[in-house]
Amino acid sequence: MGLFDGVAGFGVTFSTMFRKVVTEDYPRVKKVTAPRYHGRHQLNRHPDGLEKCVGCELCAWACPADAIYVEGGDNTDEERYSPGERYGAIYQINYLRCIGCGLCIEACPTRSLTMTNEYELADDDRQDLIYDKERLLAPLLPGMEQPPHPMRLGTDEQDYYVQGPEMARRSDVQDAVREEIPMVPPREPAPQDGVSTEAVEQSSVMSTGEKR
């Protein structure tokens, strides 16, 4: 037993006092996730606001946790939610079951379903954790129109699918294109060429504050 044995035990304690703290100041300061973090899902829209979801249920089929329930519906000329014949009339994701594996977004044939970085998925009511279509749909951006409405960007769904990337680059719909925009606030505040500040702000709101 040496003289300093009693103090030596505090060595770790003392040295830690001078290290950087690992405690997060959450929820006052939100954690910024990795860009490809599997957060809450989002149902994307075409640049004119029509839904990309065609109600094909492939996400539900791919889901290993049986967390997704979809029912298709029939688009009509009077009431159109998506280009083409079919849209997702009912779309529910049960976050009590979702394991965030991302197989659903791999399965999506229209890139309708993607995942945001939103991770605050706790609630005190089980029923509220079954997100329906209204809560999953991406918010309407400037230039978008709340469906149902006719196809604004072409005469049939091929125009949306085949010329989609081209349309996305066109200046008049550029502001509205969200999918190309990173979901986290960029490290450099200066906006990239072709990405407007407005859209970036919108997306940062999306990734953090858009709860319920």
Binding site: V54, G55, C56, E57, L58, A60, W61, E71, G72, G73, D74, G84, E85, R86, A89, P109, T110
Partner: protein, 859 residues
């Protein structure tokens, strides 16, 4: 590749080729195949799957899609090109190499697949066939991973409704012609055809070709949807409702007719999303009619009763608990049975003889088990034989006929017998409208040489499509027509294996059942009774008619009664034969019977709806066991909900006498899968409800579940026991009186059409859209005499009302009017029946709205 050097040595060891067979080599395996077998079937038997689209075992070979190419070698020489294995028959010493062993065949198949996919859209995610699509599967198994086709695909407008049920997507079509071949060969409705040529070749109807024309009107159109190997034909009612991979498929039996057709019910979240044909070669092969296929939403109708109801003090029905409802029903029924109800008073206030007894009208849609429970309930709990399942035209003569030829006879004439028969005569049976699966078999038989004769009034579609052999007679004169059958018909029926099919409508013509009985005795033909409803045959065998006990035992046979009483564990059974449906209703209306227990009976179906309403109004006690609110509900004191066929197990005994067992499709008590999104109600089968009701009346039925009831019935036996003496044949009643004004008075001929707004067709607008439009039919001479042109509105006038329908000229006898027996109203709920107008088949009728008004406005 060739087997030639090895063959002699191998064949030395092999047994000789059986008679009528050939020996060939497929993929290096030596196989014996019956002569004439198609190569693709032989491959199937060996477990070699050759991809195919157009090939269907029940359709004639077409060789349309070319997907099944294989390499064939005959006599040591290869055929210059790969051959379609679905059209080539086997031959001695043939050497076949499929894609498994031949690079040539594999390359040929890949090439065909690439060609078929050139114009096929990439819309699998939104296609209803996606997930169960032969094209999708085979493109994955034997197609290319990458498309080389970069040009624009051919497009068409889509979806194109070719009827209110079937949607056509021409882009997806691979021109396999299964649908057109089905229409031509099986159903006989040629409304869909291959049009145009080359790249523009497409499936279409008259309407798509010329802009106008008839719809794809067929009672079997749904089968084309099922056999379409791509998503070119899809169902309007199933459109985008779900994907095959989230459906649970449960085998079942059709509840819509007496065919006993095997079906497959696909369901999800407590609700059936579609019904498909099951595969039963002995019964329906792989086909069902559209009523069976598309009418399934009645279980979710807003009219469904899911909770027991009793009539409150204020006269309105209120929902209540099972306990209270059963107690109330038992109390009322016991009082009514024993005549302890309120004594009726006459107009002067004098007390009359108290009403006594309860009549039972269970309806014709019961499973065998439920029917047995009803029969036992009537005999033990209500102590009566006043029970009759025949909610339709009926007669005492029919009871004799049923006792002699149907009850307890087991499996009689079968579908297979129809196919084999040299001649078939249908009497009082319009097969396509009243027994569609029998029609399909008769049509198949007619195509292979059976002479199918119809005793009827005009060349209806069924007559035309089964060979056009009509024995035309005036309505009501069927008895004479049977006595004086033309020689070819009589000779045909005298051949061994000939069959006479008699429909339930024979009861409309006095003496017709007797005449049929006489005819089969005279010619030696076999006879089968083909009723319309699913439960009719079971009801006869379980004793739901007033003169028969379960198993075809006669009520007035003392030994049979004693035997049944001892096996039921009671001292005795009611000995007097009961009243039939009409007599029960008459007795209730006249104040003799105090109560009625009514099952699934529609008042409009009864021979005298007004009498039925009077009876239900006059009865002290009406207990209704129903699926959905009906007209009876308005009169009921207690309403007990019962389970639809999808929520219970059971057996339908079809017209052949074949037991068609089925399990529960959706068990509402079996966890969330059965409840969520569907009807949350856990309704009980009739046998359970009756069992519990009987317990309240201090009687044990032992029919708590269909299984228990079925076991007891099986132990009892529904075959006629040896102790029963020979049954009485029907006595020949008086001939119908002839009219004195022969030639001037019109006679009515009538039968029900398949889709005419029945209770189980609720909530099916797409199906109703393909119903045959109701028409009045007249001969050209009569139409001219009365001043009607085609499509003129005419008014059928009966003693109790009239009905206006457009006129169509057909080959009826002169002075005969044909009208459908039941016409759904435009709103889909109200129906007009000829019986309700006081009219009947063979009876006199007046026709209003002739020439003076023919150019006036139709109503």
């Amino acid at each position: 590749m060739t087997q030639a050097p090895e063959k002699p040595s191998e064949q030395d060891d092999l047994p000789p080729v059986p008679e009528g067979h050939v020996r060939l080599t497929i993929d290096d395996r030596i196989v014996d195949a019956p002569q004439g077998e198609l190569l693709i079937r032989t491959c199937e038997r060996l477990g070699i799957v050759v991809p195919r689209f157009c090939d269907h075992p029940l359709l004639d070979p077409a060789g349309a899609c070319r997907q099944c190419l294989v390499e064939v070698e005959m006599g040591g020489r290869k055929m210059p090109k790969p051959q379609a294995s679905c059209t080539m028959t086997v031959a001695q010493d043939m050497v076949v190499n499929t894609q498994m062993t031949s690079a040539v065949a594999d390359k040929a198949q890949q090439g065909v697949m690439e060609l078929l996919l050139i114009n096929h859209p990439l819309d699998c995610p939104v296609c209803d066939k996606g997930g169960e699509c032969p094209l999708q599967n085979q493109a994955m198994s034997s197609g290319r991973a990458e498309s080389r086709f970069v040009e624009e695909k051919r497009t068409f407008a889509k979806p194109l409704p070719i009827s209110s049920e079937v949607l056509l997507d021409r882009e997806r079509c691979v021109l396999c012609q299964r649908c057109t071949r089905f229409s031509r060969q099986i159903a006989g409705d040629q409304f869909i055809e291959l049009l145009e040529r080359g790249a523009h070749q497409q499936i279409g109807t008259e309407e798509t070709a010329f802009g106008e024309g008839e719809d794809f009107q067929s009672y079997f159109s749904g089968n084309t949807i099922q056999i379409c190997p791509v998503g070119a034909l899809t169902s309007a009612s199933y459109r985008f409702r779900s994907r095959p991979f989230d459906l649970v498929s449960t085998p079942g039996v059709s509840e819509h007719d007496s065919s006993g057709a095997a079906v497959r019910r696909d369901w999800r979240r407590g609700a059936v999303t579609r019904v498909l044909a099951g595969d039963d070669p002995e019964v329906n092969e792989e086909w069902i009619d559209d009523k069976t296929r598309f009418a399934f939403r009645y279980t979710q109708s807003a009219q469904r009763i899911t909770r027991p109801m009793i009539r409150g003090e204020d006269g309105s029905l209120v929902e209540t608990s099972w306990t209270e409802a059963l107690e109330r029903a038992a109390g009322l029924l016991t009082a009514a049975r024993d005549g302890e109800g309120p004594a009726p008073v006459d107009t002067d206030g004098e007390a009359l003889e108290p009403k006594r007894g309860v009549g039972v009208l269970p309806g014709g849609r019961l499973t065998l088990e439920d029917a047995y429970a009803y029969a036992k309930f009537a005999r033990l709990a209500l102590r009566t034989n006043d029970v009759d399942a025949r909610a339709r035209v009926h007669s005492g003569e029919e009871l004799d006929f049923l006792a002699a030829h149907v009850a307890g006879t087991g499996l009689g004439v079968t579908y297979g017998d129809l196919e084999e028969a040299p001649a078939v005569l249908t009497v009082a049976l319009e097969v396509e409208e009243e027994a569609p699966i029998v029609f399909l078999r008769l049509r198949k038989a007619a195509r292979t040489g059976t002479a199918v004769h119809h005793l009827g009034q005009w060349s209806s579609p069924a007559v035309v499509k089964t060979g056009g052999r009509l024995v035309r007679c005036a309505p009501g004169r069927e008895v004479e027509a049977l006595a004086t059958l033309p020689d070819p018909v009589a000779d045909g029926l005298a051949q061994p294996g000939a069959v006479v099919l008699v429909g339930e409508r024979a009861a409309e013509v006095p003496g017709l059942y007797a005449a049929v009985s006489e005819l089969v005795a005279r010619t030696g033909a076999r006879v089968a009774w083909v009723p319309r409803r699913a439960g009719e045959r079971g009801a006869v065998d379980t004793g739901l008619v007033p003169t028969l006990l379960p198993g075809g035992r006669a009520v007035d046979d003392e030994t049979a009664r004693a035997a049944l009483a001892s096996s039921w564990g009671v001292a005795d059974l009611p000995a007097t034969p009961g009243r039939d449906t009409a007599a029960i209703l008459r007795a209730a209306a006249d104040g003799e019977l105090a109560g009625l227990v009514v099952g699934g009976v529609e008042i409009a179906d009864l021979p005298d709806p007004d009498l039925a309403r009077a009876a239900l109004g006059a009865a002290d006690v009406v207990v209704s066991l129903e699926l959905a609110r009906s007209e009876v509900t308005e009169y009921a004191d207690v309403v007990l909900p019962v389970a639809p066929v999808i929520n219970k197990a059971g057996t339908f005994r079809n017209w052949e006498g074949r037991d068609r067992r089925f399990g529960t499709t959706i068990d509402p008590s079996g966890g969330s899968a059965g409840r969520v999104g569907g009807t949350a109600a856990t309704t009980l089968p009739d046998c359970r409800v009756l069992d519990t009701l009987a317990v309240e009346m201090d009687v044990d039925l032992f029919t708590q579940t269909p299984e228990v009831a079925g076991t007891e019935l099986a132990r009892l036996g529904t075959g006629r026991p040896a102790t029963v003496g020979p049954v009485r044949g029907p006595e020949h009643p008086d001939q119908p009186e002839t009219t004195d004004e022969e030639g001037t008075e019109l006679r009515l001929a009538s039968w029900r059409q398949l889709l005419d707004g029945g209770a189980l067709l609720a909530d099916e607008p797409d199906l109703a859209g393909t119903a045959r439009p109701p028409r009045i039919r007249l001969s050209a001479t009569t139409a001219r005499r009365l001043g009607f042109a085609e499509d003129d509105p005419a008014e059928v006038e009966g003693p109790r009302g009239s009905l206006i329908l457009p006129v169509e000229v057909a080959d009826l006898p002169d002075d005969v009017v044909w009208a459908p027996a039941r016409v759904p109203g435009t709103d889909g709920t109200t129906v007009v029946t000829l019986a309700g107008l006081g009219l009947g088949h063979g009876g006199p009728v007046r026709l209003g709205g002739g020439s003076p008004m023919s150019d006036g406005s139709p109503s």
